[in-house]
Symmetry: C2
Subunit: 158 residues, 2 copies
């Protein structure tokens, strides 16, 4: 599955279950009308237990320079959850959900369905608010490496 | 949604509905055990009508040099379906499903569920056979451009 390159995102949420965030690349657009995304999250993760209680969440698509932030929210650096949100990169979005200030794109919305599939859940999310950065490259996870992909970097023909 | 960079894949299928293929970037890993992927496909596409009848399919993850192939299977070049499979890049996989010879990875398997969500269906697929290329870069679609991402191209720290 590591050969399936994908954008790196931090999923954030706030609500009755508390404030939480997790790095996830298993995020996929579903429909434009209504705007919907889906996210696959391990049912054993702390984030999953929180999302079972919360309604509101945000998918923050990471620009290329946020590899360190991605590592903090993946748990690789063992940084406690509260400290991750003390890094001065967060705004308070609708319903107090953290929104990354310099996200390549942020999708704020609410969970419409949480579908168990084996060890994971597929979380369906309807989007209420989209913020798009005019510039910036994208952080991509491919072959177990973080890579940066520029906006103006069309594929070379071989 | 164009800001959500993703690997470019060609989904192929064969069976009672016929042989068909479509370019798709809305593909996402779900679980490792059992190995499962999901694919989001527009319900109005020819591919969708065929996948409602077929069981077997393959997700072919494209290496960087296959931008033209991606365009043929997206319909951009108006190449008829039969001609697309005459391009000498296809092997015949299990259950006669076309498998791309030089795919970065190919995931052969079968549909376990086809879940309607608005204008699209989320197709859940259990994987029976995985082939991985030892080398090769990845074709990524980001900000409405095809980009190539090298395997040994770690993110630069800014």
């Amino acid at each position: 599955m590591a050969h399936l390159g994908a954008a790196v995102n931090i999923i954030t949420s706030n609500g009755p279950g508390g404030r939480c965030g997790i790095t996830a690349s298993a995020v996929c657009s579903v429909t434009d009308t209504p705007p919907m995304l889906l996210i696959c999250i391990n049912r054993n993760s702390a984030m999953h237990a929180i999302l079972e209680q919360n309604v509101h969440l945000c998918v923050n698509v990471l620009p290329g320079h946020h590899e360190e932030l991605a590592k903090h929210f993946s748990g690789m650096t063992k940084m406690p959850m509260a400290e991750r949100f003390e890094i001065p990169v967060w705004n308070c979005g609708t319903n107090d959900v953290p929104v990354l200030k310099d996200a390549l794109a942020s999708f704020q919305g609410r969970i419409t369905e949480l579908k168990p599939v084996g060890s994971h859940s597929v979380i369906f999310m309807e989007i209420d608010q989209i913020t798009i950065a005019a510039n910036g490259d994208s952080l991509i996870y491919f072959a177990r490496n973080f890579c940066r992909v520029a906006r103006d970097n069309p594929a070379m023909t071989s």
